[in-house]
């Protein structure tokens, strides 16, 4: 029984996108992933609007002070099992905005992160590989 549920989780990861103090380059690359050339719907990935519907939270941008509480709230609204992908160097570690006063640095300062995808901006292929790595991690007995 567990293997069927595992299979279904791997085959239909729905993503919710959120930008926090970002520069829009990673956003358009995440959006480009849905466009015909990269088309992640092949893996069953759909872009969802409501945190209730999503499994994977894709976050870009070094968290600015204003969006930190919102990011936490969106993360808490998502039902388990949920995962977080930090897209772009800013999301991983604050990236090029080191030293800027209004920025907290990486996403992991606010919420636990499962997959880090570096790149400035991240390449669509890297986003797909990040999701694939997440699914592989899921296959190997991901956290409940």
């Amino acid at each position: 029984m567990v293997s069927i549920i595992g299979w279904s989780r791997i085959r239909s990861p729905w993503i919710l996108y959120m930008g926090t103090g970002h520069c829009n380059a990673c956003d358009i690359e995440v959006l480009a992933v849905l466009a015909p050339r990269f088309d992640v719907e092949r893996f069953g990935i759909l872009l969802k609007g409501s945190p209730r519907h999503a499994d994977v939270l894709v976050v870009t941008g070094a968290v600015s002070r204003q969006t930190a509480p919102r990011l936490k709230r969106i993360y808490e609204q998502m039902p388990n099992p949920k995962f977080v992908i930090a897209v772009g160097t800013c999301a991983c570690s604050g990236g090029v905005y080191w030293g800027c006063y209004n920025v907290l640095g990486g996403i992991d300062k606010v919420i636990p992160v499962d997959v880090y995808i570096p790149g400035c901006p991240v390449r669509p292929e890297a986003v797909i590989q990040g999701v694939a790595k997440l699914l592989a991690k899921l296959q190997g007995g991901g956290k409940k």
Binding site: S64, R65, Q66, G99, Y101, N102, V103
Partner: protein
């Protein structure tokens, strides 16, 4: 590089003749660039003069600089040349550091509302007569008396 065309010279000359006594520094540093330094009180008259005389209605932005001993404000005004926004006249003023207040120019150039609020946010300069000088850029929970763009302000561990 510095072949200055007649239009800049003409503007500089007009400024000199009308506000000669008040202007402390006036130079044309290249094509489409005029720098003029004036005391804060006569800034509004200069802008009105540029607007009426040269139909200069586009303010590109206001730059605020903390010069350690005083604050410097630069009003970048686009004056019509061959095109309606060709020549950039940079009007500079210096205001004392202890109580930095400045008359607002929103009634002359309505486009300047946001720039004044931004300078107020980041440098703490109060613009009298501004319709609503609320916080524009900094987050809500930012302490009132901290102005990030001042040289003596150090970013604390956030």
């Amino acid at each position: 590089m510095s072949k200055s065309t007649s239009k800049e010279e003409f503007i500089a000359h007009e400024l000199k003749s009308n506000f000669g006594d008040v202007i402390s520094e006036l130079k044309v540093t290249g094509p489409r660039r005029v720098y003029v330094t004036v005391p804060p009180e006569s800034l509004r008259d200069i802008l009105l003069f540029l607007k009426n005389m040269f139909n200069a209605r586009h303010i590109v932005t206001i730059t605020g600089i903390d010069m350690m001993k005083s604050f410097e404000l630069i009003y970048h005004i686009a004056v019509p040349g061959e095109h309606i926004r060709s020549i950039l006249v940079n009007v500079k003023t210096h205001i004392p550091r202890d109580n930095p207040t400045m008359p607002s120019v929103v009634d002359i150039l309505p486009g300047a509302t946001l720039y004044e609020r931004e300078v107020h946010d980041l440098l703490g300069i109060v613009f009298e007569g501004h319709p609503n000088l609320e916080r524009l850029i900094l987050p809500d929970d930012w302490p009132e008396d901290e102005f990030p763009l001042r040289k003596d302000w150090k970013p604390k561990e956030v």
